[in-house]
Each structure stands twice: as C-alpha cells, then as structure tokens.
C-alpha cells in the first residue's frame, strides 16, 4: 500500500500499535487527554505521560475516577474547542458508552482509541470485537487500524476528519488488543511534527464554552418535534464524512505515501470468492490468499478501513462479480444467525445488482483466540465450496470451538469445609459496658501458634507475585473470622490470580463483579439471604458472613456505589487491600497512591516528580456514611488485624456495614525487596502515613500511637525502602517531600484531636 513518492520526510521505527498511537498524539499535541487505565489500551496514556515528563508533549493528562468520568472530562474539554483524546477497551468502553452519543449528538470532535478486547463476563483481557460492536450505534465515525502503522496514520486522519466543517463528529480509531497494540512492526513516523500540524491546521470551531463574550448553551432539553431533526443532521454528517474521508486520505497519501481506501481490496481483480475480515486477522489472511492464488484459486480479501459511515457503494462495487463472500467476525450477536457485521454486509450485497452472491457468516477468535493462516485457508475453502455445493456449507458457524474432554477434567480435589472446622472459637467477642470512648466489644484472639489451625479459605497454588502482600493480609483477616463466609472480589490482582479458569483458589463460595459495582452486587445477595431465611427457604440455623474484597482501584471507580451501599447499611464487610496503585493493569496511579510515588502514569523526570496529588483519605469518606465500624490494619501488627476482623464480623452480623482498609505491599510495583514486606508496612504506620485506628459508631480510637511508644519516624525513612519513592529523598525534591510530610502531619494531628474528643 505504499508508493515511493512522498512529500514529507519520515523516519523508520520498530514500534507497537500503542506506541504508534502515542507517537501520533505527540505529533498532534492534543490539548487534553482524559483516561482511565484498562488493558490493553492503558499503555497509550503511560507512554504519553513518559513523553510529557521529558517535555516532548504538553498535553494535559487527567487520570479520571473511571471510564465514565474520563469520557465526561473529554466531553467537557471538547466543548472548549480543545483537541481531545482518550483511549480505552472492553468494559471500560462500555462503562463510558452512555457518554458517547452525548459527544456525537452535541457534534463535538475528539479522538478515542478503542483498543479492542472481549467484553466481560467471564472476564477476558484479550482481543475480540465485542466491545467495538457496541460502538456502531453511537453516532461516531469509526476508523479501523489493522496494523501499528495504521494506528499512527488513522489518529492523524481522525483529527482532520472529525473537525472538518461538513463533518464535526467524534472519531474512534480501532485497533486490535495485543495483536496490534502490543505487536512491534517496522513503521514510519514523520520526522518533523510540523508536517502533521500543517496537515491538520488550527481547529476551527463555530462555538466554544470558553468565550464569555459569546455565551452559548450546550446540551439543551430537546423533545419532539426537534430531536428527529437533530438526528437527521447527524445522518447528514455521516453522509458527508464518507466523501470527506476520501478527500483526506488522498491528501494524506500525498504526504505519507500510504493509502487507506474506505475498503481495501486485496487480490480482488479476478476473484470469484472473497473474505470480509476486520483488522489484524485480515493481515494474517493475506498470506493465506497469496497461497490460494498460487494454487490457482480465484479468491480475494476485503478489509474495511472505515466502518462508520459504512462504505456501502464501495462494498457493492467490490462485490459485484463475486459468487460468494465469507464474513469472518470476532464477535457474535447471539440468536441472530450471524455476527453483527454479517447482517450489514448481507443486506448491502443482497440489495446490489449481484443477485447470485452467497454470504456466509463465521465467528472466530473470541477472547483472543489466535487466528492463523491455516484458519484463513479454512475460510477460503468454505467460500469456494459454497459456490460448488451450496447445500454442503452452513450459512453460519463458529470456528475453533472445542467440546472438551470429559476424561481429562481436573478431579474434584478438596472437600468443602465443615461448619465445625471453621468455628473453632479462635476468636471470641463479648459485649461489655463501654466506658467513655472504650469499645463495647471485648475481643479474645488466640495466639498465632493456635491461629495456624484455622483452615485457609484461600487455597495455595494461586498465581500472585512472590512476596505479594495481599494474600498474607487476607489470610490474617480470615483468621479472625469464625464460621461460614461468602466472598465477593472486585476485579483486581486478588481476583485474577485466584480464579484462572478452570481453577479457583477459593474454598468458599465466591463471586466476582467488575469493580464499579461490587458493593451493590453483594448487598443484593445479603438481602436475599435474610429474605430467604425469613421465608424459611434457608434454614434459620444458617449463619453466613458476607465479605467484599476490593483493591484501592475498586475504591476509586467503585467509590460512589460503595458509598450508596454503606448508606443503606447492609450487613456485610467491605475490606480494601490498598497496594497504592492499579497493580493488576501494570502499576498506574490510584487516588490512594501517595504524593510523589513514581508509577507508569506518574513518571519522574525533568518535568514531574511522580504523583501530583495527595493520597485519598478513604477511611474518612467511608466513616462519613455513618456505618457502625471502620478500621485500618496491617499484617505487621497481625494480632490487631485478626482482632479487628473478629469485631468486623460482629458488627456485620449485628449492626450493619463495616469498612476496613489494610495496607499491603506490592514488591513488583513499589520496587521493594520481597522479604521486607513486614518492615515496610510497619514504617508506613510508624511515620503516621497509615495510622491504625478504629471508628465504632462514630467514636474514633487510635489502636497504636507511634509517638507514645517512641517509635515515630519521618516519612523519608519509609520512602527510602521503595525504589518508586526514594527519589523524593534527593535534594531536588525536598519541597515535594516537605509537602508530603506536611500532609501526613496535618492528618495525624487532626486524627489525634478526634481520638481525644469525647464525641468524635
């Protein structure tokens, strides 16, 4: 697809799709990027952050509290006439879905990189197009980038196309997760970003919300009879986009030497049968087409570069002489005898002059299942066969499913726990008369030498990193819990490493929901448990403790629903393991990450010192909901943690919702020595960064006061133990360190004041 004569100098690179998206962003120099990390699109923001730290790009990066928030931030920014980008995947994309028609209906251009990934559930982080198919109804222009080079080119084309006065639409650039996003190929980028800037020109807007002399109203209340006219304008914009796309890619070809026709036809000249396949799999299929041609078979390939607006006439023309067309799709529309695009393609070609054509639909490669050249050859054979013997080929089918092998099923390995086994009385609670602010509960905790008798509710063999603090922390917590439990885990490290199908480390009933929504999910189950008991459908003797396990990430994106659940005060425990970042997706900053910590979205360098804002006080937020019990703990003070677990269980059974937060180590993303897990946590407590407290029915008590014990240390003594923090000890960051220490001191003094006050 490359011609020799080009206008602009380019340099050869060896980069992935995500790297090429970031390179394009650098050349475009967007005003603003709002994002939320999700595999496999996360890298794009990470790379731009790294570029920013080096001063190579000036884009404002906003790490939102979730994809919905990210989309909102982008919408807001775009009303101000800014060049805006975002990147997301899978359920993150779906979480923002509600915002996307707002963007297109308001006719505000921006660029969204959709790096495709299978939509949960079950949760799968690999590529398919089930997320993309939800995009078809959003009113956005959709460009398909089949390889890393196209990701770069399409991002540049997207800006110009979306901002064109006859279009004025947001544009998605869609590339395949991992197959393109993480695949390194020989690529070219423009030597001078000015080439891109001149190609794009200044953004021309007819309105902006940032001009007080020309006030406007964006997003009115519009019912009938007006809305249909607004949607007709949207339809017209897509009609224009088809024409404008053709003009822009021609202009871009002059500049780059690379062409992107609305539909690429590969070896179609004498083809009688063809495949219609999107993105990276189409590139793989080209080798199979070459092979089939060399064997004298008359086959070709159609691969769209433009999916919205759909290039209807181009498809009709390209398929005019075909006897058969096989549409291969990385997504199904269950119950409709064809993948979602098949229905579009079929209706277009059957509505053309070509009345003899047969259209087959095949689902392949779901959830990242590999699509090989041999698979494409199989499709080619079917496309040819349907011409010869139409009855012998099914119209619709899946490629690559497996029935399984009953004989090789993993055997049932462990017996469920008996109630007696789990109720040994290793922790005991007694209600006592409270004096002043003292706890109304007296706890007895067995010695660690006896606590070992508690069977582990999580089995060994889970796949966490060496030295992971989550599992020692959770085990200590469960050591404090008597009897039966049902657990819900938010998406995150603890979920992923314990439930790698067909394995589960959980020896008790477990459910997962995406981390916007774990708390409401468990609250539903809790209410059904008590309702079924009331109806006599569950025996009155049954007694279950409900525990939700979340990371600090789940307490960012899931904060609102967790607060709602807390306000309803269901009988359940929410336990947060705080490892100070989104570790499951590679260590991006969370709101709980401390100031100055280096993460992959808060790099340290010439222009930045690490995370730019203070750690979130989740404990105070949750305490403000008025729930009966809030606590913090660490595994280095194990008996304290076990005792708090026992109290949490009592409150969750007798009064309502409990929130507990345990700080846990992440040696991988803190760049700390695995064996020093205990010491690092103890120092976090001793420097008063993470005070150990309890709040019982609104009354705050310190569980441990490092000042009184003579153990108080400076924050620097803690920070120096972690590779991702120790830069703060360098002279150049003394101001940032002082700022951090100041915030710790301020919160500690306020906490002590609350602990001393009889009413707080």
């Amino acid at each position: 697809m490359e011609s020799k004569e080009t206008k602009a100098d380019q340099i050869g690179q060896f980069l992935t799709g995500n790297e090429m998206a970031a390179e394009a962003a650098k050349a475009i120099d967007f005003h603003f990027m709002g994002y939320y990390p999700i595999t496999p699109s996360t890298e794009i923001a990470e790379i731009i952050d790294r570029m920013k730290v080096k001063g190579e790009v000036s884009t404002v990066l906003l790490p939102a509290d979730g994809e919905h928030g990210a989309a909102g931030a982008c919408f807001g920014a775009s009303t101000g006439g800014a060049r805006v980008m975002n990147a997301t995947s899978s359920n993150g994309f779906l979480y923002s879905l509600e915002q996307l028609p707002v963007q297109s209906g308001s006719r505000l251009p921006m660029v969204l990189n959709l790096v495709t990934r299978s939509v949960s559930g079950p949760l799968d982080i690999r590529c398919d197009h089930s997320d993309l198919m939800y995009a078809l109804q959003t009113g956005w222009v959709i460009l398909l980038a089949s390889n890393p080079q196209a990701v770069y080119d399409m991002n540049i084309i997207a800006v110009k196309l979306g901002e064109h006065p006859e279009v004025r639409l947001p544009v998605m650039v869609v590339s395949d997760g991992f197959f393109t996003s993480h695949q390194r190929q020989s690529t070219k980028i423009f030597k001078d970003a000015k080439v891109v800037q001149e190609f794009l020109g200044q953004r021309q807007d007819s309105f902006t919300t940032l001009d007080p002399r020309n006030p406007i109203t964006v997003g009115p209340y519009m019912n009938d009879p007006d809305l249909i006219n607004n949607k007709f304008q949207l339809h017209q914009a897509h009609e224009s986009a088809l024409k404008v796309y053709g003009e822009i890619v021609k202009e871009y070809e002059m500049l780059s030497g690379r062409s992107y026709p609305a539909i690429e036809d590969y070896e179609m000249d004498s083809a009688e049968s063809a495949l219609f396949i999107l993105n990276s799999a189409a590139e793989t299929a080209k080798d199979a087409i070459d092979l089939a041609k060399s064997e004298g078979k008359k086959v070709g390939l159609l691969r769209p570069n433009l999916l919205r607006p759909f290039p209807v006439d181009q498809l009709k023309k390209a398929s005019a002489n075909l006897a058969s067309l096989l549409v291969g799709e990385r997504s199904d529309t269950p119950g409709s005898e064809g993948g979602p695009l098949t229905h579009e393609v079929r209706s277009i070609v059957l509505g053309s002059e070509n009345k003899k054509i047969k259209v087959l639909s095949r689902i392949y490669g779901l959830g990242g299942k590999d699509f090989r050249e041999t698979d494409a050859s199989h499709f080619i054979a079917e496309a040819l066969q349907v011409v010869e013997a139409p009855e012998s080929v099914a119209n619709f089918g899946f490629l690559g499913t497996e029935p399984g092998q009953k004989k090789k099923l993993p055997p049932q390995v462990l017996q469920p726990f008996s109630r007696a086994e789990m109720s040994q009385g290793l922790t005991k609670i007694e209600v006592v008369a409270s004096v002043g602010k003292s706890s109304p509960l007296r706890v007895q905790v067995a010695d660690p030498s006896l606590l070992v008798a508690r069977p582990k509710r999580i089995a060994p063999g889970h796949g966490a990193c060496p030295g992971c603090g989550i599992f020692s922390g959770l085990d200590q917590f469960f050591k404090g819990i008597e009897g039966d439990v049902v657990v819900l885990y938010h998406t995150g490290c603890a979920m992923v490493v314990t439930t790698d199908y067909p394995f589960s480390a959980h020896r008790v009933s477990y459910l997962h929901n995406l981390f916007q929504n774990g708390a409401p999910t468990l609250s539903g189950l809790v209410e059904v448990f008590y309702e079924k008991k009331r109806r006599g459908e569950i025996a009155a003797s049954e007694d279950v403790t409900f525990v939700m396990i979340t990371g600090d990430g789940g307490m960012d994106i899931g904060m609102g629903p967790t607060i709602g659940t807390a306000l309803r005060n269901h009988k359940m425990i929410v336990l947060e393991y705080d490892n100070q970042g989104y570790m499951n997706t590679g260590g991006q900053l969370s709101y709980s990450t401390p100031l100055g910590r280096e993460t992959v979205t808060s790099h340290v360098g010439a222009k930045n010192f690490g995370k730019g804002f203070h750690h979130k006080d989740t404990v105070s937020i949750m305490a403000a909901t008025g729930i009966p019990y809030v606590f913090t703990a660490i595994e280095s003070c194990g008996i304290d943690l076990v005792a708090k677990a026992a109290k949490a269980q009592w409150y969750a059974k007798n009064q309502g919702l409990v929130f507990g937060k345990i700080l846990v180590t992440c040696p991988l993303n803190w760049a700390s020595d695995e064996k020093y897990g205990q010491e690092i946590l103890q120092k976090a407590v001793d420097c008063c960064f993470f005070p150990l407290i309890e709040i019982e029915n609104g009354l705050t008590n310190l569980s441990y006061n490092p000042e009184q014990e003579g153990n108080k240390i400076a924050a620097r003594d803690w920070l120096q133990m972690m590779g991702k923090s120790k830069h703060l000890l360098r002279a150049e960051y003394s101001e940032n360190l002082a700022n951090f220490q100041g915030e710790i001191d301020r919160r500690w003094e306020r906490l002590k004041a609350r602990a001393m006050h009889p009413l707080l």
């Binding site: 595999t39 092998q405 030498s449 060994p460 020692s472």
Partner: protein, 339 residues
Amino acid sequence: MWKIMKQQKEQPRKNVSVRLEAIGGQGANSAGKILAEAAVLGLGYSGNHFSSFGSEKKGTPVKSFVRFSTEGKQIRTASYIKNPDVLIVFHESLLETHPDCLEGITAHTDLLINSTKKPSEIRFPEGFKVRKFATIDATDLALKYQCGLNSIMLGAATRFCPEIDAEILLKSFLKFFSHLEPQLKKRNIEGFESGRKQTKDFIFDESQANIQPHEKILPSMGWENAPLGGVILNPGNTVLKDNSASRKGLLPRFIAEICYNCGFCDMVCPDFCFVWKVDPQNKTAPALMGIDYQYCKGCQKCVLACPVQALVTVPESEFLESEKQHHLFPQTEIQKLKR
C-alpha cells in the same frame, strides 16, 4: 537417538520464527524485543515481535514471538507462532507445568532449555524430535552474576540465531538496558556473555524424516462439558498447580530442632506453604512439619519473621528430597497426581 555434535558453521535461514516460553517476571518479553530490534533496527531485516500475556503479574505464563526475514519479505501475520524454528524455554519446570510450551515442535526446530540437566537427561514425550537441542543452567548463572535470567538466555540465544550477529544483539541489549545503573548494567553484560559461552553441548537429532509436529494440547473443559456461565465447581483446585517456577533459585530451609511452633511464619506467608500437624481434639498445640515447596515462590518473608532462625535462606540446588513436606489435604488424589 541423540548425537552430540561439535558446533559448526550453519547456513543462515531466510525466514526465521522464534518463540520464547517463560513465566512472567523472567523477562521473556524484553528478550524478544531485544532480539527483534537487533534483527530489524540493527540488521535491516523485516520482522515483528509481540507477546501473549496474562495480566501484569509475575508468575503467569508468557509467550513471546519474534519473526524476521533476512530477505526482506513483508511480515503481515499477527498470529502466534505455532511451528517455531527456534524455541527457547526459560525454565525446565514449564515442561511439567505448562506442557503446551512444546506445542508445534517439528524436526526443523532448534530447542534451548534453561535446565540444570544435560540435554540427554531431559525426558520428552514419545516421538519427540527436534533439529538441534541444548541446555543451559541459566538460573544458577543469573544468581552468580546477580543479573536477569533473560540476559543469560539472550546470550545463549546467539548460538541459535546465527542470522543475528552477536555483536549487534549486544548493541540492542545495551540500548535496552541503557537506563540501568552502571553496576547492574555490568552484571547483565557479564551474564549475557556467560550465556553465550556456557551453553551445554549441542545435540542434533539423527532422524529427520516423517515427523509430525507436536500438536496443540486440547483443553479439558469445552462447550460440551463446561458448567454454564463459566462457573467453577471445584473449590480450591489451584492446589493442583505448581508455583516453583516463580522462584529465583533461593528457598527457605526449615530447621525443625530450633522451631518452637510460634506460628509467625504462617502469619506472613502469602503462598500458604507451611504444613502443620493439627490435633482435631485440640489437646496438643499445632506443630510445624515443614514447607510445601510446590507453592513456595521464594519471597523469604518467613525467614525474616522467624524469631529463632529456624528458617534460613538456602540455594535451591542444595535441597534434598527428604526436606520437602506436602500439605495433606483431606480426601484428595493430589499426591498421586502431582508428586
């Protein structure tokens, strides 16, 4: 069946595919990137590279793929490499724990395995044939040079990819590690060089005729027998897994004579490795029997938690079979299955 050969000058291949099989944290993705950059940026070949990950963890299987063409054939395919010309396995335990690491081997495959064993001592499935085979004790070398396992494996890989000049590979390697502190960089270069020199004898297979590639291992669970909705009906079946490949050559040793059963180790272990004898009637206190090394990832937290030095850090190579304890889970077939 195996024939030991002196290394000889080989004819460079035109189109080469390399697959690296490893556990997350062993650096297979970086190694693949370095190898591919040497081919593409260093030598001007056409090529591509990508990896197949789980989530961002240490300890999950990683496959990394490199394709290059010395004659500049455009590489478009985005799929995994099924039949590699070169297969590099970063830890011999993968042969047991993830047997699909040998998938697609043919008589044209060159195979390198990180192993303490000699090539002739490694047992393979019946009918197994490759073109060329060698082992290297990379775990031990990485410990010795205090460098990444991938540095050793890349050094060794130079002998499997004669198409990539070793000096150019070293340049690509240095570029990748350019941000490291000088001491660490030096150690990795030394590791790279040692990997280059110390690959154990190459073995060539005599027979190359009529060999079927090692086929894909089919999943046990499929549409006919998988419970609906992805539900797992087998609580705690991760006990069937083996985490030993996550270790970096060091283990905690348990000295029973010193131990007084305080339970502190059990409070800090993330992998639930401590094996206790518990009296169901609670008449005697639980007693620590030892460590289940099938699950130990070698973090050494327990060694620091132990108040009496009944746990000490020791190189894995010094361990005796008799020191290995196993959990006795009730009602299980596990011992028969895995041990």
